[in-house]
């Protein structure tokens, strides 16, 4: 078999009468950054939830290296290897920034407090928030919260990180600081799967773009190809419209 880090094979998911995913397949290699784009309600976020088994697929398989995570009995172990960055940050409100980054290390990895603290500070430094370690989530801006969310995912030393519209809940002037951190991670070789509407970011950072609509992947390939000579007319229509809407000033 191939040496892909992540393989999604023919996954189907329905919620009630609504068939959200209709046979999704793609792979992700180590160090690769893939961005999933497409209209709202086409199942992009559902794919991320499936990869973290926060939702179980009706059909199909998802492999992380050799483990079929749709069949594994030890899903908690698998999730330690997959970071998740939420649209609404998902920070624990009763813990400081440092506490948020530490809790996975101390409670899940059973690390000593001191060691966990060192890693937490290291990761906060990486996202530029070492001076905000003792702030509670409510005392941080949206962009800072999301960077803590990224630091929390990084601290677990995951094999890949899933980003579910990480900048959608942010004021426009705050998206830059989050995207910059993500860009840095991509350059450092972190494996990332990102759902976003930030087309400028997708075009410059993604190794590959996946265009989805109505629960199927219409087209995937290098961003330059999808932006300049897409095979599917819907891809062209969507990407052009979004580029016009959001990113006139960015590139």
């Amino acid at each position: 078999m191939s040496k892909h880090l992540l393989r999604v094979e023919n996954v189907y998911k329905r919620f009630g009468d609504n068939e959200v995913l209709k046979g999704i397949s793609f792979q992700l290699d180590k160090g690769e950054t893939k961005v999933i784009v497409g209209p709202s309600g086409t199942g992009k976020s559902t794919i991320l939830s499936l990869i973290n088994m926060l939702v179980t697929p009706d059909e199909g398989h998802i492999y992380l290296e050799d483990i079929d995570i749709t069949r594994t009995r030890d899903i908690h172990k698998v999730r330690q290897n997959i970071g998740f960055v939420f649209q609404d940050f998902g920070l624990f409100n009763h813990l400081t920034a440092k506490g948020n980054v530490m809790i996975g290390l101390t409670k899940v990895k059973k690390m000593k407090k001191k060691e966990a603290e060192e890693i937490a500070m290291e990761e906060l430094r990486r996202v530029g928030l070492e001076n905000f370690a003792d702030h509670y989530p409510a005392q941080l801006s949206g962009g800072q919260k999301q960077r803590v969310g990224i630091a929390r995912a990084l601290a677990m030393r995951p094999k890949l990180i899933l980003f579910d519209e990480p900048t959608s809940a942010l004021d426009p002037e705050l998206t830059g600081e989050v995207l910059n951190v993500m860009r840095k991670l991509a350059n450092e070789g972190m494996t990332m799967l990102i759902v976003t509407h930030e087309m400028g970011f997708a075009r410059t950072v993604a190794d590959e773009l996946i265009f989805m609509e109505d629960g199927v992947i219409l087209e995937q390939g290098p961003p330059e190809k999808l932006f300049t000579s897409p095979e599917h007319p819907r891809t062209r229509e969507f990407l052009f419209k979004l580029t016009d809407l959001y990113n006139e000033g960015e590139r």
Binding site: H76, F92, V108
Partner: protein, 232 residues
Amino acid sequence: MFLSSLLEGLQKNFTIFLANYPALLRGLAVTIYLTIITSIAGIILGTLLALGKVYGNKFISGIVTAFIGLIQGTPLLVQLFVVYYGLPVYGIRLTPIAAALISFTINSGAYQAEYLRGSIQSVSSGQLKAALSLGMTRWQGIFYVILPQALRRVIPSWTNEFIYLLKYTSLAYIITAPELMGEAKIIASRNYEFFKTYLLVAFIYLILVLVFTRLFRRIEKRFAIPGFELKR
């Protein structure tokens, strides 16, 4: 005007206090003992019931719901009588204090469970999802992420519950538990100063309520999460 005449009355009644303070202090000690033990035991019982109701399967959640309904739907005094006068029929004989402890704990537990259930459900579901995504089990997520937040939010309700208990423990005198009200009844039946004696006891309860309310406000502030302070 009422307050000043009340204070004047109390001044006169101070002699009653001086004449009977050993008994009154004994009663006060029993009242505080009953209140503190049953509210703490009630918190533990209430937490277990709330977890069972929110996170248990249909069977457990159903049993808990029925239990809470039964306790909340019947008078405390009836529950006290069932435990003290009813259980001996099955060979279980309890001292008045033990019977009071058990029935107040069960009663308070049922109410506290409902407060905590509401509080648990007010913590956003995204918090548990985030906990799972870090590799926590469901129960780890509940204990390290959901409960620490839910318990803080429920402190104001528990303050009220503690104050209720402080006052409701006076019912224990009916089954002859020697708490504050019980002692007062004995004193009054000896000196025939019913009005002054009960007024004195009312005043003691009032002081207790004020002191504990203050104390709990402090605790609440101490545990407040920045950004989630209660507005008063």
